[in-house]
């Protein structure tokens, strides 16, 4: 009889969650797993769900195609639970150097996926079988989690830009900070200086709760308000007349999906 090992509780909730998902999939009916193949994706989040499932399931090298109405849009090679290659069907094959590391690979693949999603079609995955030849994933590859983080970073930029474009016309002053110290600003010098001081300190002031998006509203003199939208490593500060605040809050809620369904989730 084999040696018994006592059960012990996993301390890492993330790992425990992923293990649970694997067990659920292992015990799922074949029909349910086949039905997954019919799922489509129309945005980054749903596409990432499809890809994560495939990448996390893959051990031996295999190829997949991302399809739109029967037309191949991109080809992926996955292996050893990592995405090894992603080529867009309409992009010229070049001798571009391979990404030097997994982070760069994730960013490169995320940008390509973003371009695909941006075309506005429903994407589906089609398995193509074992990967052969040079497409077996020898270059720097990335995990599904790295890819998801890179996609989220691209979304973060888009969402903050979206809020910025909507509020710019009514802004008394604004400051936009990206990660890595890139800052743009416009407005009266003294107001911008105060806002920049806050923005530079946004890691401690605006981002409690990790890098999740949030929007803080503070009072300013002369019946005006300061809206601080923080998302990932980015931070947008907009000074507004009090009368424009309700509309600005609605813009943020529209962009960040503060809907009834999101609140119930």
């Amino acid at each position: 009889m084999g040696r018994m090992i006592a059960a012990r509780r996993m301390q890492d909730c993330d790992t425990a969650g992923r293990l649970r998902q694997k067990l659920v999939r292992l015990s799922a009916h074949a029909a349910a797993l086949l039905a997954e193949r019919d799922e489509t994706a129309s945005d980054s989040a749903s596409l990432m769900r499809l890809l994560t499932r495939e990448i996390d399931d893959a051990v031996l090298p295999r190829s997949l195609a991302l399809m739109v109405q029967g037309q191949e849009q991109a080809r992926l090679t996955i292996s050893n639970r990592r995405l090894a290659a992603l080529d867009l069907a309409d992009a010229a094959q070049t001798d571009a150097p391979q990404p030097p590391d997994s982070e760069t690979a994730a960013q490169m693949h995320a940008e390509r996926l973003k371009r695909l999603v941006g075309r506005g079609h429903d994407l589906s995955l089609r398995p193509l079988g074992p990967a052969t030849g040079t497409n077996r994933g020898g270059a720097a590859s990335c995990s599904a989690r790295q890819l998801a983080a890179a996609l989220l970073a691209l979304d973060t930029e888009r969402r903050l830009e979206c809020v910025f474009r909507a509020l710019r016309a009514s802004a008394l002053a604004w400051v936009m900070c990206r990660g890595e110290g890139e800052t743009r600003a416009e407005g009266p010098e003294d107001l911008v200086a105060c806002m920049t001081g806050l923005a530079e300190n946004h890691a401690s002031h605006c981002q409690v709760g990790g890098k999740a998006p949030r929007c803080t509203i503070l009072s300013l003199p002369k019946a005006s308000r300061l809206l601080i939208a923080a998302d990932g490593d980015g931070c947008l500060l907009v000074a507004l007349h009090k009368a424009d605040l309700a509309q600005a809050m609605q813009v943020w809620r529209d962009v960040y999906g503060q809907t009834d369904s999101a609140r119930r989730a």
Partner: protein, 125 residues
């Protein structure tokens, strides 16, 4: 009426208000909470940390800007899931009320009720 009963009353009187908590800004701790659904300690900690951070930002703004409110009484934080109103006591240092709602329409009522509750708490009620 006890503080817990007042928190319950505030939550039930305001449509969409899912949580009201009385706590301390210096320690970022919730002392009494009324919640429609069980609220994990981690979430309360995060809410109070956010209250501390938002008032720190408000204080810095007041310090840097001529003509700014000397001591902001309230701040507001939106997340993709809820809307958080933080009101601090004007007379009793670190006392704070954190209230979670689901729409901007409820904000004035949350601020007014929180102020009243803090006034009563300051009187020892």
């Amino acid at each position: 009426m006890s503080l817990s009963e007042r928190l319950d009353a505030m939550r039930s009187d305001i449509a969409g208000c899912s949580l009201v908590s009385f706590g301390d800004l210096q320690t970022a701790l919730a002392l009494r909470t009324s919640s429609a659904a069980p609220c994990p300690r981690e979430q309360l900690d995060e809410i109070f940390a956010q209250a501390v951070a938002s008032f720190a930002a408000a204080d810095r703004l007041a310090q840097d800007m001529a003509g700014a409110e000397a001591r902001a009484e309230d701040t507001l934080v939106m997340t993709p899931r809820d809307l958080r109103v933080f009101v601090r006591s004007q007379s009793n240092g670190a006392d704070v009320i954190c209230a979670l709602g689901d729409s901007p329409e409820a904000v004035p009522a949350m601020i007014a009720s929180a102020r009243e509750l803090l006034r009563i708490a300051a009187r020892g009620g």
